[in-house]
């Protein structure tokens, strides 16, 4: 039975480097995905993810366990993303692959998905990325944390240091704007319907 985050954190605090690397292995993809969706650049997102774990490792002694370890990592990541955006003085970009490799896409798809479905899914993904980049940072962050990381309203509120009602408002406004942009972009999807 795999160890919980709390157990791995406790062992890491005792100097067990392997335990911390298990946490890295467990959380590197979600953290990278969060950074990528917030700042929109693959290389920078990877740097942010690495820096997140480095900072977490250095600050491990200060982690008191009031929040979940994952929430703590998310907070570090979001702070680094904000630093990145402030430093770059830019809004996030939607970086989509230039060439779409059908063979590679087919490997990622489900067995029942046709090539046409795969292509339309990738086109939709690019359109979503572009629409997300147009959102204000607070709305985008709230949607990312909710949609891709499954945080509760309360967890998002704690993470963003804002009231619960503000989280709901940001989610509603952000989703409404996305709906409008995606409708205008002409992409249609039956996903989730």
């Amino acid at each position: 039975m795999p160890s919980t985050d709390e157990e791995l954190v406790a062992r890491s605090m005792g100097g067990d480097l392997d335990s911390f690397n298990q946490l890295v292995l467990r959380w590197e993809r979600p953290i990278y995905a969060l950074a990528y969706r917030v700042i929109g650049r693959e290389e920078d997102a990877r740097d942010v993810a690495q820096e997140t774990f480095l900072r977490a490792f250095r600050a491990l002694k200060g982690f008191k366990g009031q929040a979940k370890f994952s929430s703590w990592l998310y907070r570090i990541t979001l702070n680094l993303c904000r630093d990145w955006m402030r430093r770059e003085r830019r809004t996030p970009v939607s970086q989509a692959p230039e060439g779409v490799d059908i063979i590679e896409m087919a490997g990622e798809g489900t067995p029942s998905e046709s090539i046409e479905d795969l292509v339309s899914r990738h086109e939709l993904g690019r359109a979503v990325g572009k629409a997300m980049a147009l959102l204000p940072e607070e709305q985008r962050t709230a949607i990312i944390l909710k949609e891709y990381h499954g945080l509760t309203f309360q967890e998002i509120a704690d993470l963003l240091d804002c009231p619960l009602s503000t989280v709901k408002t940001r989610l509603y406004q952000g989703l409404s704007v996305l709906r409008k942009h995606l409708h205008e972009s002409g992409v249609e999807s039956t996903f989730g319907q």
Partner: protein
């Protein structure tokens, strides 16, 4: 109710408690706008799910800082120290051969195989062995022995010459052979003695010089940079003096 979107967003994400959920479900049955908006937002959520980040090239791991380097040996020969040590060895050999007295800042360095050492740690090698070999005295002693031999031969000669006429040629030849044989035996004995002494001297001096080199190396280990420069200058003077004497 339609003005506040709290229930709508809570219902959309399934975060309403049971009472609020029943209330909002009842509202939906009578509000077409909310039904349409809910359906539109659900579709948008479905579209959002298709946005995936590119597959990253991970491999990032925290590694422990470079392991503490192994403790440095107490004496490690750096290139500079190696050169200094080599210089000391070469100069030691050269000085041993050179037979020199070099005065340097009040310090007298005596070199040469035939000069007694003053190294305290090798005094047990024997004071007699350490005494310098006086070659002139040895030569004089050998000369004295030869004269004695000559005198002894003369002392025997009158007896033999007195009766020389009585001796046959074969007797004379035998006597001469005996005398030559005695002389040769003495010479061989003297030569073996001298060889033994030389070998003992050489061995003693070798031990002395090895001890001196050991002590020199020990001093170099503890010497500061200024002292090393001083040693080097001293050795240069030794080398120069050896060259000039040559």
């Amino acid at each position: 109710m339609c003005e506040s979107k709290d229930l709508l967003i809570g219902f959309l994400y399934g975060e309403l408690d049971a009472a609020d959920r029943r209330t909002f479900q009842a509202h939906l049955t009578s509000c077409a706008d909310c039904r349409e908006e809910l359906a539109g937002l659900r579709a948008t959520r479905g579209q959002i799910a298709s946005w995936s980040p590119p597959e990253p090239d991970f491999g990032f791991r925290i590694v422990r800082g470079a392991a503490a380097p192994p403790p440095a040996p107490r004496f490690r020969i750096s290139p500079a120290w190696g050169l200094a040590a080599a210089a000391v060895l070469i100069m030691g050999v050269a000085a041993g051969i050179a037979n020199l007295d070099v005065s340097y800042g009040g310090l007298v360095v005596r070199t040469g195989w035939n000069r007694g050492g003053d190294v305290a740690s090798v005094q047990e090698a024997g004071a007699q062995a350490l005494a310098p070999v006086d070659w002139s005295a040895q030569t004089a002693a050998l000369d004295r022995r030869l004269r004695e031999l000559e005198t002894s031969a003369r002392a025997h000669a009158p007896v033999q010459t007195a009766s020389a006429d009585d001796l046959s040629d074969a007797d004379v030849l035998r006597l001469v052979r005996e005398m030559l044989g005695q002389s040769e035996t003495r010479q061989q004995r003297e030569f073996a003695l001298r060889l033994t002494q030389i070998a003992q001297d050489f061995d003693t001096k070798r031990k002395l010089d090895l001890a001196a080199i050991d002590q020199g190396m020990a001093r170099l280990q503890n010497a500061s940079g200024a002292e090393v420069r001083q040693y080097r200058e001293m050795m240069q003077r030794v080398a120069l003096a050896a060259y000039q004497q040559k």
